[in-house]
């Protein structure tokens, strides 16, 4: 028997608890840094400074944030439908095909603002396609989505390996990447946005796809809470039996939800390919698909939570890189430990401090105190 959790006020539920979890994760990370023989305070300084210290750093942080918003939204959409899409990594990777096809075809003839929409459609299309197959297998064959999407990550990696080797690599080149796009395949940076705050974006690849990510977040909110499709997806997610009772077509909704999820993951490819490298490189996703799971968990699968969660992970990525740069005895792997701890406390151990926090808050609230007084009388 589990003790039901009491309802907490919104600020505690969505503010305090995540913050406490984060604080504990950072505290333990600090201990690890201490064990390695470095100063945790210095590490913390480099983390924050590296993420927000200069316009350029902020640019990098927001660049990573953009990526994580897409993959976080992808996981969240599937999650609302009760599907655990672990395949964001592969879907983002395959989404790259759509971006590359658009850019290679039009980068020399069309301006970026015409190539961009085509690339968006391409990225979403290929990502959706890659997610559709596991979705269909789940809906029609009962193959568990977690297993199939994991397998599809590997298949995607092999497929892209092949494509980069045999199809996309220019003749004579030794490195596994496409040719560099012309101006039509290069997204403009958001330096104007940074300059409003008197900051310079410098060399950071903070680009227009950040705006697309924010629009996508709003779009996901509308989809989930304001459309019939979203309603049906949530019904499925909470109770498949209720969905069947309501006449919701289970198989159809599963496939559609997975396609939307895959499409969002695929759109992540726009950011590194058109926004940073201006070409597609081997393994450009770099684990962002998996970070998306943590982002969605932390953000409670709500766009308003996913954006700050993505920002947090963007900060960890950027600031973490800075730590390993400034403090040589802390390797890049240390950053993985910190990220792992954040995921552990914010995701897996989300409820660890809840009973204590509940007791403190409800113990302090006047309502319960009054109740206690009347009871005594």
């Amino acid at each position: 028997m589990s003790v039901p959790y009491a309802k907490l006020p919104g600020w505690a539920e969505y503010g305090l608890i995540p913050l406490v979890n984060l604080a504990v994760a950072f505290l333990i990370s600090g201990l690890v840094v201490l064990i390695v023989g470095e100063s945790p305070l210095e590490a913390a300084y480099h983390m924050v400074n590296g993420a927000f210290g200069r316009g350029e750093y902020i640019g990098f942080t927001l660049y990573y944030t953009t990526t994580f918003i897409f993959t976080g939204l992808a996981v969240a959409v599937a999650f609302h439908c009760g599907l655990f899409n672990i395949g964001g990594e592969g879907q983002a990777y395959i989404g790259g095909i759509g971006v590359v096809l658009a850019c290679l075809a039009f980068d020399r003839t069309l301006p970026w603002y015409l190539v961009f929409p085509i690339a968006i459609v391409g990225a979403a299309f290929f990502g959706a396609l890659w997610a559709m197959i596991p979705g269909w297998l789940q809906a029609k064959r009962g193959s568990h989505i977690v297993i199939t999407t994991i397998m599809f990550n590997f298949i995607a990696a092999s497929l892209m390996n092949y494509l980069l080797n045999r199809v996309f690599k220019p003749m004579g080149s030794m490195s596994l990447e496409t040719r560099t796009f012309d101006t039509g395949g290069q997204l403009p940076k958001l330096d104007w946005l940074m300059s409003i705050f008197g900051l310079s974006v410098g060399s950071a690849p903070f680009n227009i796809s950040f705006v697309l990510a924010l629009l996508a977040a709003f779009g996901v909110w509308v989809l989930i809470w304001r459309t019939r499709l979203g309603y049906e997806m949530r019904t499925m997610g909470h109770s498949p039996a209720a969905a069947r009772y309501a006449g919701i077509k289970e198989a159809k909704i599963i496939v559609i939800a997975m396609m939307i999820s895959g499409g969002l993951a695929g759109m992540m490819a726009l950011n590194p390919i058109m926004g940073e490298q201006f070409r597609m490189q081997l393994d450009f996703v770099q684990g962002a698909g998996f970070v998306g799971i943590a982002v969605a968990l932390m953000g409670r699968s709500h766009p308003a939570g996913i954006i700050p969660a993505a920002l947090l992970f963007g900060m960890l990525y950027q600031g973490g890189a800075e730590i390993s740069f400034e403090m040589p005895s802390i390797s890049r792997d240390m950053i993985v430990i910190i990220q792992g701890l954040v995921i552990l406390f914010a995701g897996a151990l989300e409820h660890m401090f809840r009973p204590a926090i509940t007791r403190v808050i409800l113990g302090l609230s006047p309502k319960t105190r009054d109740a206690a007084v009347t009871k005594g009388a």
């Binding site: 028997m1 003790v3 039901p4 959790y5 009491a6 309802k7 907490l8 509308v222 304001r226 459309t227 019939r228 309603y231 049906e232 949530r234 019904t235 909470h238 109770s239 039996a241 209720a242 069947r244 009772y245 309501a246 006449g247 919701i248 509940t358 409800l362 309502k367 319960t368 109740a371 009871k375």
Partner: protein, 511 residues
């Protein structure tokens, strides 16, 4: 015999803002059967969970046999001589009776010695309390009544002197319930103390020596059973006078609205759950299906409402066939005038995590009136929910409140409002008042009669025989997937009980 087996002093328990038990005082005399009665959510289960160590009380003392003790977990409760028979049995289905009884009391890593000992002890207990069961039978092959006996034996094997039974008759036929009561009286004669949790007033009157009534987390009264009445107890439970009899006029059956012919349904394992069932329901009548839970009623409802595919047979809705063996679509059936109040409102009829207003459109969410362009019209949905809340007196009247936070009765009203307000031709209702408080039962029964009087065809399935008899114009009894008899509501409980147990039915079906 005035020694106290259990004394609770000032027990208080809150779950956050929910004050489940308020300053509960209770005295249970040794060697008596003590009933605890109250509506759903009155705090009975919480109190028993505290006594059995699932929860800890925030304040208060538990005194067992004159000793104040702390019960931190069920092991402590067992050590103090308290045994519990849960509403949902805690038995390992694919273990034998003996293995289940030993479970948790094996005594050593090697089982042989323990098995011999347990077998001997079991035999002794069987003899002492007339609780015969085959120790080598596998649980899943036993009828529920016997499974319950195993639960009781399990408690006795652990040397329980105090036995708590939580809603023990919910899954039993009247005959099985009678047998249980005989066992309980025997236990009492042997000096055991029995604490019986129930919401059925008749059971309280039939078997208890004393009864305590809970309401909204408080213990409002304790009465000696022979000095009280059903009416008084009902009033104490609800806090106001309750109409226990349903008032209804003559049925005026008209055209056949729902016609089921030779319907056969199998479950996922291929077991036939509904076996060649045929019946008609006319506009303006209520046909009740009586039967012990698990005799095919659920599958029957699911097949008619398009949720579960039938093996064979036909169903006509207002004269037009429903594709029950193929792709019957619940959404389509709704449009054709079939409303369905499912048996399990928690998992089927409602999405508990949704706002109330979102549940008020479940299944009807494709109606254009809830849409504005591509989007859902949230204002229209909430306005619609508010209208239903007012019409059905759903409390608290807040369409934005999470459905899980409504009481059982109000949740059921949310489902009923949704299905009834659509003005369907045929209404099929499963367990309309399961887990619903007495006050709401009265309301729900009235509404069902009203639907009939408006000329709807109503199919009612309930495991509460009283409810079936009170509401139905005709009663069909299901046993082992077959309709084994049809009776009028005047049929005696004994007669229906025999049919439900499959005794009379076999003869009749053979004829």
């Amino acid at each position: 015999m005035s020694e106290l087996a259990i004394e609770l002093k000032g027990i208080d328990k809150s779950f956050g803002l929910v004050h489940a038990n308020r300053n509960i005082n209770l005295k249970v005399r040794k060697g008596t059967i003590h009933g605890i009665i109250g509506e759903n959510g009155a705090g009975k289960s919480t109190l028993m969970s505290i006594l059995y160590g699932f929860y800890q009380a925030d304040y208060g003392d538990i005194i067992i046999d004159g000793k104040t003790i702390k019960i931190r977990d069920p092991n402590a409760a067992i050590a103090a001589g308290i045994g519990m028979v849960h509403q949902h049995f805690m038995l390992v289905e694919n273990f034998t009776v003996l293995e289940n009884i030993m479970l948790g009391a094996e005594e050593s890593q090697i089982l042989n010695a323990g098995i011999t000992k347990a077998r001997a002890e079991l035999k002794r207990l069987e003899k002492e309390y007339a609780l015969e069961v085959d120790p080598d039978a596998v649980i899943e092959e036993l009828p529920v009544g016997i499974q319950q006996r195993v639960e009781i034996l399990k408690a006795l094997y652990r040397k329980a002197d105090i036995l708590i039974l939580d809603e023990p008759t919910g899954v039993l036929t009247p005959a099985e319930a009678d047998h249980l009561f005989r066992i309980l009286r025997q236990l009492k004669d042997e000096g055991k103390t029995v604490l019986l949790i129930t919401h059925k007033l008749r059971e309280i009157m039939a078997i208890t020596d004393e009864v305590s009534v809970m309401r909204r987390g408080e213990m409002v009264a304790t009465r000696t059973t022979k000095d009280t009445s059903v009416e008084e107890l009902a009033e104490l439970m609800v806090g106001r006078r309750v109409l226990l009899r349903v008032e209804k006029g003559e049925a005026k059956p008209a055209d056949v609205k729902l016609s089921v012919k030779n319907l056969t349904v199998r479950d996922g394992r291929g077991v036939t759950m509904v076996d060649d069932v045929s019946f008609d329901i006319r506009a303006g009548e209520i046909v009740g299906i009586a039967g012990v839970a698990g005799n095919g009623q659920s599958e029957l409802l699911e097949a008619i409402s398009g949720i579960r595919r039938a093996k064979s047979g036909t169903v006509l809705l207002s004269g037009r066939e429903i594709d029950v063996t193929g792709n019957a679509d619940p959404a389509d059936l709704r449009r054709r005038g079939l409303a369905h109040v499912p048996e399990d409102r928690h998992h089927v009829g409602l999405v508990l995590k949704f706002e109330e207003s979102e549940n008020a459109i479940l299944g009807y969410h494709d109606d254009p009136k809830y849409r504005r362009g591509m989007l859902l019209d949230v204002d229209a949905i909430r306005a619609d929910a508010e209208a239903k809340i007012a019409a059905y007196d759903i409390r608290p009247p807040n369409p934005r409140l999470k459905t899980a936070n409504f009481s059982g009765g109000n949740q059921q009203k949310i489902v009923l409002a949704r299905e009834m307000e659509r003005n369907p031709d045929v209404l099929i209702i499963g367990q309309p008042t399961r887990g619903v408080d007495v006050g709401a039962i009265e309301f729900i029964h009235k509404r069902i009669i009203e639907m009939r009087d408006q000329g709807k065809a109503v199919l009612l399935v309930s495991v509460e025989l009283d409810e079936i008899r009170a509401l139905s114009d005709r009663i069909l009894v299901m046993f082992a997937g077959r309709v084994v008899g049809e009776r009028t509501p005047d049929a005696t409980e004994g007669e229906l009980g025999l049919l439900m147990a499959g005794v009379e039915g076999r003869k009749e079906a053979a004829e």
